[in-house]
């Protein structure tokens, strides 16, 4: 039972996370919509770490395929890490319903569909871990990013409930809330360097937090306090701000 399933495996955070788990001896299922692009990465992991890596074709928004895909895995994974994310510019998301819907489906609905299936399985076996990569954007809705933020908020609430439910079965659930990360998703944005993490740092943080059974991880850690301040601002002031 040494496999970990990473969903949304093409993202920078997912790839670095895969490397950390491989380095620590875990075999991997890498789930993504287009797995052809992951062939070279599979070789990279196998050569670096001598672990087994299987590519799994998985579209997080193709809800009705999730059960079959999960059941077809030769060996049931010991843990699952959902990294799938989709962020478009706010002005696009608020104008085009298809953009809004895709944001909600990739960041929330799809994750719920897949994790429902996996949670039932883990609960029955009384083992395993679940990691969901949410975002600090879900801690409070802001005018610059609230469609993405609200989907992540829903995902965070889902993970919190799941953690509560699975506690008795010994299945751990970790909510990851990255702040700014230097990835393809944020390419072109001007990010404050001191608050911006590298994907490899996020990956190390995730591994450590998961292994020690943490509930919520802010990465970089300073975001816990930034978000504490942001969520404490009274709404009658907050609604006038541009942050």
């Amino acid at each position: 039972m040494s496999y970990v399933l990473i969903v949304g495996a093409k993202s920078d955070i997912a790839k670095e996370t895969a490397r950390v788990y491989a380095k620590n001896g875990y075999n991997l299922y890498l789930g993504a919509r287009d797995i052809a692009e992951l062939e070279e990465f599979k070789t990279d992991l196998e050569v670096r770490s001598s672990v087994k890596v299987e590519l799994v074709e998985l579209d997080i928004t193709a809800f009705n395929t999730h059960k079959e895909i999960y059941n077809s895995l030769a060996e049931k994974p010991f843990g699952v890490i959902v990294v799938s994310g989709y962020m478009t510019e706010q002005h696009k998301a608020q104008k085009e319903w298809s953009e809004s819907l895709n944001t909600i489906n990739v960041n929330y609905t799809g994750a719920v569909s897949l994790l429902n299936i996996i949670a039932n399985d883990f609960e029955e076996d009384k083992r395993g871990f679940i990691v969901g990569v949410s975002s600090v954007a879900g801690d409070r809705g802001r005018k610059t990013n609230y469609i993405y933020g609200s989907a992540k908020a829903a995902f965070s609430a889902y993970l919190s409930g799941l953690r509560n439910r699975l506690f008795e079965s010994g299945v751990s659930v970790l909510t990851v809330k990255p702040g700014f990360v230097n990835t393809k998703m944020t390419e072109g944005l001007v990010l404050p360097q001191k608050l911006t993490a590298q994907p490899s740092e996020v990956a190390e943080d995730i591994f450590k937090a998961q292994q020690t059974g943490k509930n919520t991880l802010y990465t970089k850690w300073v975001w816990r306090y930034i978000m504490l301040i942001i969520t404490t601002i009274p709404e009658f002031i907050f609604k006038k701000l541009s942050i």
């Binding site: 070789t43 990279d44 390419e187």
Partner: protein, 430 residues
């Protein structure tokens, strides 16, 4: 986000190009004006700085590992530290490694780096079986030993193209530990004698006390060693300390003096002592402190590294150490090393002789002092290391490197001089 060099001087703005496939780089190379490759930013000066940089570190897949014969093929952005994480457990090690493992393979080739075993095993290019290189027109070529392109690219500071992948031969080891001998010497003469006495051992380096004066000039701790043979290969890298902000510059003196005192007085009481140390602390003592460059403060620093031919090493070093000690500038420790025969590469730094490296924080009067040191280096027939340099004059540089014209001609003939340039290559007309 602009990329900076390790010395944090000069601080410049730049546009950063990333790529994840050959095709993507070809397209971006085509539209870009002038650029140079940037790996993990560990070169000290302006050799990997330019208005446009190709950031190769994210291009970092392992491609193949022949575990029986120790042949590893990787993309150029892979760090030496990542190689060690992958190969030590199988009983392999880097044939050549510098004093930091946090450099990319592409950077190691471009600087033709060397390490504590130069006197026996030579430069990084010795372990490069072949590499692939994207030329100015986007064409990708496989470059093998002895080809002109090999001689120009190894040590060529990224000025021949963008290195994409490399096939490296590794060294067999049977332990992750080093049997180290530390020799305490009282002056330069003793230091030189100790280097010669222990030169049969694969690894050697000396830390020179730059505060020593008069008859004590050249007082050192020489550390030599070889891999142990105990079969322990369970390698697990330790996590790192971080220096999260720039130190005020006065902190430097206190820190380095303490470090030296601790080493010098505690470590070896009576001349020669033996230790068993992990390869990480033997080869990479500073890597355990992430961003140690910040201890020099926000104005940045430079490392002055030169090498002198063996026959003029003793006199030259004595004069230079004397000047440094009188100036009151510079770090309190310098690194001294005996080098073996030079190779055929056009711009590789090492020649047979002794090299000294020490850090200077950027301050008023520094460059004048370094110019004076340059004069002694030139007089002794020595040269300056491009990977560390940020200020050497064209004249000084040219007098040290007899193959510079071959390199310039090669660049020109192959249309490299218009496409690939760094601040350093422009400064020195490389």
């Amino acid at each position: 986000m602009s990329l900076q060099s390790w010395g944090m001087y000069p601080l410049v703005e730049n546009e950063v190009i990333k790529f994840s496939s050959e095709k993507e780089l070809q397209e971006k190379l085509d539209t870009a004006d002038e650029l140079v490759a940037y790996g993990n930013g560990r070169s000290y000066g302006d050799s990997a700085l330019a208005d446009t940089l190709v950031h190769t570190k994210p291009y970092d897949y392992f491609l193949d590992f022949d575990v029986t014969n120790g042949i590893l093929e990787v993309q150029a952005g892979v760090l030496l530290s990542e190689i060690l994480e992958g190969v030590v457990k199988h009983g392999w090690f880097l044939k050549i490694t510098p004093g930091t493992k946090l450099i990319t393979v592409g950077g190691a080739i471009a600087s033709d780096i060397h390490g504590k075993n130069h006197h026996i095993e030579g430069c990084f290019s010795e372990c490069v079986q072949e590499f692939t290189l994207m030329l100015a027109d986007g064409k990708i070529v496989t470059v093998k030993k002895d080809e002109e392109l090999f001689l120009a690219t190894c040590g060529g500071m990224g000025l021949t193209g963008v290195i994409l992948t490399a096939k490296l031969s590794l060294k067999k080891i049977n332990s992750q530990f080093i049997n180290q001998t530390t020799i305490k010497t009282r002056n330069l003469k003793e230091t030189f004698a100790a280097f010669e006495e222990y030169k049969h051992l694969p690894y050697s380096v000396a830390w020179v006390d730059c505060l020593a004066k008069d008859e004590n000039i050249g007082k050192s701790l020489l550390m030599v060693g070889e891999f142990a043979d105990d079969g322990d290969l369970r390698y697990k890298p330790k996590s790192k300390l971080n220096i999260p902000f720039n130190f005020p510059s006065f902190a430097l003196n206190t820190l380095s003096v303490k470090a030296f005192n601790w080493l010098y007085y505690w470590k070896s009481q009576d001349g020669v002592s033996k230790q068993r140390v992990h390869f990480d602390s033997f080869f990479y003592p500073l890597d355990s402190i992430r961003n140690w460059n910040r201890i020099y403060g926000k104005n940045g620093f430079t490392q002055y590294q030169f090498i002198l031919p063996k026959e003029s090493s003793f006199d030259g070093l004595e004069r230079i150490l004397d000047k440094i000690s009188q100036s009151g500038k510079g770090s309190f420790l310098a690194v001294l090393k005996l080098y073996g025969k030079k190779n055929e590469n056009y711009l590789s730094f090492p020649i047979e002789g002794y090299s000294l490296a020490l850090d200077f924080k950027i301050e008023k009067g520094l460059f004048e002092l370094l110019d004076e040191l340059d004069a002694i280096v030139v007089e002794c027939g020595g040269r300056i290391y491009l990977t560390k340099d940020v200020r050497v004059s064209k004249e000084t540089f040219e007098q040290g490197y007899e193959k510079i014209e071959t390199f310039r001609k090669f660049r020109k003939e192959n249309n490299m001089s218009e496409k690939f340039n760094s601040l350093q290559s422009k400064r020195l007309g490389l």
